[in-house]
Symmetry: C2
Subunit: 507 residues, 2 copies
Amino acid sequence: MARQADTSDTRRIERAAGRVPTLAEAFAADPGRSARFSFAHGHMWVDFSMQHLTDELLSALVDLARAVGVEEKRDAMLRGDTVNVTEGRKVLHTALRSGDSTEEARLAAAQTKRAAELAERLRADPGVRAVVNIGIGGSDLGPVMAHRALRAHRDGPECRFVSNIDPADLDDALRGLDPTTTVFVVASKTFTTQETMHNAERAREWVRSVLGDAWATRFVATTAEPARAAQWGVPADQCLEFWDWVGGRFSLASVIGFPVMMAVGPARFAELLAGMRSMDTHFAATPLATNIPVLHALVAWVNTTVFSRPTCAVVPYSHDLARLPAYLQQLVMESNGKSVGIDGHEVMHQTSPVIWGDAGTNGQHAFFQLLHQGTRVVPVDFIGVREPTGSDGAAHDMLVVNMIAQAAALALGRPHAEEPHRVFPGNRPSTTILLDDLSPRSLGEIIAMYEHSTAVQGWLFGINSFDQFGVELGKELATALLPEVQGGQPGPGTSATRAAVHRYRSR
Amino acid sequence: MARQADTSDTRRIERAAGRVPTLAEAFAADPGRSARFSFAHGHMWVDFSMQHLTDELLSALVDLARAVGVEEKRDAMLRGDTVNVTEGRKVLHTALRSGDSTEEARLAAAQTKRAAELAERLRADPGVRAVVNIGIGGSDLGPVMAHRALRAHRDGPECRFVSNIDPADLDDALRGLDPTTTVFVVASKTFTTQETMHNAERAREWVRSVLGDAWATRFVATTAEPARAAQWGVPADQCLEFWDWVGGRFSLASVIGFPVMMAVGPARFAELLAGMRSMDTHFAATPLATNIPVLHALVAWVNTTVFSRPTCAVVPYSHDLARLPAYLQQLVMESNGKSVGIDGHEVMHQTSPVIWGDAGTNGQHAFFQLLHQGTRVVPVDFIGVREPTGSDGAAHDMLVVNMIAQAAALALGRPHAEEPHRVFPGNRPSTTILLDDLSPRSLGEIIAMYEHSTAVQGWLFGINSFDQFGVELGKELATALLPEVQGGQPGPGTSATRAAVHRYRSR
């Protein structure tokens, strides 16, 4: 059965990797290089030719994917096997948009329909002027990212997002809003998330102080625990449900996307799901050697494991996609930032790189110095959009030409210069992703591409991408330390813990 | 004279580093550890005890700082020697707030006074409802960060920030604004920055279409080229000046801070400068062994160079400090992301780590999984604020206790657990910085701390932190490729460049 990459798989890859020419040599030797390493599906075109690939290496990588059972694992995930073995759960975010007749897909379609009806009602209500989503992590980053990405398609009430337990966050969000015309969406899979419930309680008091018991008319819940939400006071017909087979970081297509639906309307949200479904189908049915999420994952894996690149930058050349790097930080790093294999043994190689980045051209004026001339090689995912989302085509040309130029500058460099400080070593890898437009459908395609790439990377690393036990210890210690911070007995930790609590309390 | 770290310096450090115990061992052996490795100045308390330090290692690091001439280089910078040798410039951002009688300090004080008078006049004008700053990189990240950090102190017109050449950015910023009541600040050191000038021209047309020639009454320039700004049409008394001895990423204390002054008023801006000055004095006069920016830099250096940590996360537990990581990305990575020494020879060791991060507690629900259980060790700078900036003290307690708990969890881990997926290896280093409050003064202190740490890191790396030649090649290629994108002849690059341009143009 499927297994993780072992020495015999990687030896051939390392041999091939050792023979990879520089990017300048590779392009000089082969005018067809870009055509051979680029792939299109739907509204997306992806060019891997500026990565350190050869035909030999790519072929070895595809064989590795086959050897570790990527196809079987993919099929098992898609058909609803319990692939999240450490938590005993299915992983069926694809059922949220499949339209299939499986039980999960039918449940999901029914909730999407309920959400759409509620969204239509609230969008048509002239008494609803604003929506505030209260959620954190997977209940925040996806909706924030998609709401911003679909800026040009918004026709609903203003949406704001509150996540942090820092009271400044909710204070800031409520400024200028009217409790009688604001709808709150309390987004928490468990309906117990500390930050979210605390902020929800504050919001409830704010509305109750004006509306009294009618506060509940202004609250929606998106949760896997609708009974808890109802007990908290949200009317049952405003409790929208998802399930334990949807991971928080894979939940945008579920009712967690409700604020996006409020902003752009159910029809455009359905287009987002259609884009995701289109990429799901590509992922499910395309041979590994031309399967975009699989290739994207193989490039990430070889950069991480063979070429020892500890980070990967995501740089969307799009103001509206500026929140994509933060969204992918969670998706990739919470999924694959692990060091124990799915078999319970420590992995023998590196796993997830650090994912970071910001919008271009802004990044060019911030951290690109290090990309070009630093001692660390940072692979970059460049993401561009062909159709402008703004009102100035000339500026959009400048935007996109900057992206194309940066990829070329990183690849070729300027190895010879009269002055040593003006030398650019070049040979720095990147992937270019061009979307036809920033429509809901294109956005759905690229999100699903990254979801599937993340899963494939996890299979290559031999880990379970779908649990997140690493978030627990900090939470436990925070609970144990709260009495000390409030003036009680010392909790766990070190002399540094005692000192920090003392310093904090001595104000 | 001073030189960069060489083998004999680093051998002693490597020996000491090889004897560093785990953090759990170190705290168990020494109840006084936190007290010995923590330092206070002004409104800031910094605890390095959760870093991999021993007395022996710290002593060797301080000796290294002395051996490479950190004191002489600091003094040379502060007195105005031409320490930016590759560009032949002084590095005198400290003169922006020194109040000294040097020529630069007097010039700076005069411009700060002009800026304050202009800000007072515009803040008092009921016809001014909004300020839009148009700038990118150092003309954007500092003001954006400080404007957000001082949210609780704002009493001026609404401020918005436009940076990206993507037309969506300006479109978004102008939404809901009135050209007759909006003041634009065009912030560009050279007054030629492509993104900024294009956006400024669009803004000028937007105002001119309503106000005609009176558009100029609504424009302010912050620039080192006031003659160019005046030629562009900004009235001379609204052109505020800074100089080539202020690097863009070190320019917040200059007139680049004008939008912050508009938001919080000149008196609070003066407090910000006073906080910076206080840290400048500490940096200039404190022995290396207790000098906070020097110690911060030595920790960064040993993590990077000796312990081979390729990244450093900055996690402010403060909604209002959420833009600090992006600001520090530029400050640190544009300064020290270099591989050629100040002597013109390639450096033999790693230079700047990748700086990344996001606000806590949000990060806990996103990338902290990797920090706790990933295969990569990421040193963290935790930044907390003792006084709440929001309206809910209980929530602020929860915020800060989470920060303290995360540092303890990373340091101690949970090395033994019944289930391998619940093992936390621990021994992961962090620094805790606690500010007394998020006042302008405290903010000034921490910004200046990072400025000076960045400079010291550069001296330890043996590079020039004050140039940025790495941003040039991409700009040159973008200019050379623009005709092709607009339908003309092919420019430089590879088959991937041609393919991307073709794909872009074929819409």
